[in-house]
C-alpha cells in the first residue's frame, strides 16, 4: 500500500475532495498545515519587530491506497488541485507496510 500525501491550496480542497469521491476515494485524513515551496516569503511586522512569515496555509490530505491505484490517485489530485500558479503544492508517495481497521481488526497489506 502507499500513503499519498498531498499538500494543496486550501481553496482547492472542496474541489479535490469532490474529484476523489467521483473516483471512489472516500477515505482520507486531512490536516491544516503551513508550507513554503520555492517562492520567497513575505515579511511580517509585530510591534516594531519584523519577522518573515513566508509560511502560507495549506491543506494536507493523507490517503492510503492500494499500490495499483496510486497512479490514478496522483492523477486525480494533480488534476483537481492545479491552478497553474505558484503554490499549487506537492504530492509525496510513501510506502506503507500494512493498514489496520480498528473497528474490525482487519489488516490490509
Amino acid at each position: 500500500m502507499k500513503l499519498v500525501k498531498a499538500i494543496i491550496k486550501p481553496e482547492r480542497f472542496e474541489f479535490v475532495k469532490k474529484a476523489l469521491e467521483e473516483k471512489g476515494f472516500t477515505g482520507m485524513t486531512v490536516s491544516e498545515v503551513k508550507g513554503r515551496g520555492e517562492q520567497k516569503g513575505i515579511s511580517l511586522q509585530y510591534r516594531g519587530k519584523t519577522m518573515s512569515v513566508d509560511m502560507l496555509p495549506k491543506v494536507q490530505i493523507d490517503i492510503v491506497t492500494r499500490d495499483d491505484r496510486t497512479d490514478e490517485l496522483v492523477t486525480v489530485i494533480t488534476g483537481a488541485a492545479r491552478t497553474g500558479k505558484i503554490g499549487d503544492g506537492k504530492i509525496f508517495v510513501i510506502p506503507v507496510e500494512r493498514a489496520i481497521r480498528i473497528r474490525t481488526g482487519e489488516v490490509e497489506t
Binding site: E11, R12, F13, E14, F15, I42, S43, L44, Q45, Y46, T50, V53, L56, P57, G87
Partner: protein, 398 residues
C-alpha cells in the same frame, strides 16, 4: 432651557452604547471572512471609527447640523465645534452632547459600509474613500433627515437612522461591491468563515448598543425612550425568529441566520422606534427577517459578492423600516399617524425620503468608488489578496 440631568445621563450612556457598535460591526464581519482577513476586517472598523471621529468634530458635524443651505447641507458655522456649547441651549441637554451622540452614528455607518469591499480593499484607498464618503454622502443625508434639510421639512420620519444609517450604508456597500468586483474564486472556492462565535459576540454588542441607538434617540429619559427600548428588543426577537424559521424551512437553522434576523429586525425598527408600539414591532421585525433573508438569497443567486450582506440586511431592512414607519406610525405613541391610520401623506414622505437616500447613496458611492479605483486603485493586487489582508495590509496574523 434648563438642563435635565436625567436626560443628560441617558444620552451620555446611550452614546457609550452606540460607540460600542462600531467595533461590534467589526467583530460581526470579522468572524465571517476567511481566517487570512480576520484581523484586517476588524481593523477596518477601528479605522472607520478613528477617521470619522476626527472628521466629525472638525467638519462633519457642521455640515450635518450647521444652519441649513438650501435644504441640502449645513454650513460651516460649527467648524471645529465652534459654538457647540456645554450648557443646555434650546434643549434639555448640552449641544456638545448631541454632537457626540451623532458622531457615533456616523462612525458605525462607515463601519457597515466596509462590508462591500471585504477581503479585497487596499487600506490606503479605504482611508481616502472613507473620508470622502462620510463627508459627501453621510453628512448631507444626516442633514436631510435631522439637520433641518428637505426630508425633515417634507415630513419624512426617521426616528433613529433607518435612512441615514442603514439605507445609506447598505446601498453604498452594494455600489462598492459592484465597483471593486468579486473576490478571486468567489463562487468556485469554498470560503469558510473565520470564527462564527466572534460574529455572535459582535451581534451581542450590536443588540446591546442598539438600545442606546434607538432609545437614546428620544433625547430624553421618558416614556418615548422606554417605548423605543421595548420595540427595539421586540423587533430584534421577531426578526431572529422569522429568519430562523424561514431558513429552517429550507434546511437547517444556522445560528448565523438567527443573528442576521435579529440585526434585520433591529435595522427595520430603527426609523419607527419612536412611532409604533410593541405589537406592531413584532410585525415589522418579522417581516424584516423574511425580506432580508429573501434579499440575501436573491443576492446569492445573482452571484453578487456583497457577502457580508450589508445590502441585504441594512439596505433592504432599512428600506422596509422606512416604509413601515410611514405605514404603521400610531398617533397614540407619539402623535404621528401613518397609512393605516389614514395618513397617506406620511407614507409618501417616508417613501420619498427613503428612495432619495437610496439613490443618492448608491449613485454617489458608485462615482467615488469608481474614481478611486481608476486612480489609486481600490483593490489589492491578486497576490496580496491571495496571502490575505492581515499579512499584506497589516503585516500581522490573527
Amino acid at each position: 432651557m434648563v438642563l435635565d440631568t436625567g436626560a443628560t445621563a441617558w444620552i451620555l450612556a446611550s452614546t457609550a452604547l452606540v460607540a460600542l457598535m462600531t467595533p461590534g460591526v467589526g467583530f460581526f464581519y470579522g468572524g465571517l471572512v476567511r481566517k487570512k482577513n480576520y484581523l484586517a476586517t476588524i481593523a477596518l472598523a477601528f479605522v472607520a471609527f478613528a477617521l470619522v471621529s476626527i472628521q466629525w468634530v472638525v467638519v462633519g458635524y457642521s455640515l450635518a447640523f450647521g444652519p441649513d443651505i438650501g435644504g441640502f447641507i449645513g454650513n460651516l458655522d460649527f467648524l471645529g465645534l465652534n459654538g457647540v456649547g456645554m450648557d443646555a441651549g434650546e434643549g434639555t441637554y448640552p449641544p456638545l452632547l448631541f454632537m457626540i451622540f451623532q458622531l457615533v452614528f456616523a462612525t458605525v455607518t462607515m463601519a457597515i459600509v466596509t462590508s462591500g469591499v471585504a477581503e479585497r480593499v487596499k487600506l490606503s484607498s479605504f482611508i481616502i474613500f472613507a473620508l470622502i464618503w462620510t463627508t459627501i454622502v453621510y453628512d448631507p443625508l444626516a442633514h436631510w433627515a435631522w439637520g433641518g434639510g428637505w426630508a425633515s421639512q417634507f415630513g419624512s420620519l426617521d426616528f433613529a437612522g433607518g435612512t441615514v444609517v442603514h439605507i445609506s450604508s447598505g446601498f453604498a456597500a452594494l455600489a462598492l461591491a459592484i465597483v471593486v468586483g468579486k473576490r478571486t474564486g468567489f463562487g468556485e472556492h469554498l470560503m469558510e468563515p473565520a470564527n462564527i462565535p466572534m460574529t455572535l459576540l459582535g451581534t451581542a454588542l450590536l443588540w446591546f448598543g442598539w438600545f442606546g441607538f434607538n432609545s437614546g434617540s428620544a433625547l430624553a429619559a421618558n416614556g418615548i425612550a422606554a417605548n423605543a427600548f421595548v420595540v427595539t428588543n421586540t423587533a430584534a426577537a421577531a426578526g431572529a425568529l422569522a429568519w430562523m424559521f424561514a431558513s429552517w424551512y429550507h434546511g437547517k437553522p444556522a445560528s448565523l441566520g438567527l443573528v442576521s434576523g435579529a440585526i434585520a429586525g433591529l435595522v427595520a425598527i430603527t426609523p419607527a422606534a419612536g412611532y409604533v408600539g410593541a405589537m406592531t414591532a413584532i410585525i415589522i421585525g418579522a417581516v424584516a427577517g423574511l425580506i432580508c433573508y429573501g434579499a440575501m438569497l436573491w443576492r446569492i443567486r445573482r452571484g453578487l459578492d456583497e457577502s457580508l450582506d450589508a445590502w441585504a440586511v441594512h439596505g433592504m431592512g432599512g428600506l422596509w423600516g422606512a416604509l413601515a414607519t410611514g405605514i404603521f406610525a400610531a398617533a397614540a405613541v407619539n402623535g404621528y399617524s401613518g397609512l393605516i391610520e389614514g395618513n397617506v401623506q406620511q407614507f409618501i414622505a417616508n417613501a420619498a425620503g427613503a428612495f432619495a437616500a437610496l439613490v443618492y447613496s448608491f449613485g454617489v458611492t458608485l462615482i467615488i468608488a469608481f474614481a478611486i479605483d481608476r486612480t489609486i486603485g481600490l483593490r489589492v493586487s491578486e497576490e496580496e489578496e491571495y496571502v490575505g489582508l492581515d499579512i499584506s495590509q497589516h503585516g500581522e496574523r490573527a
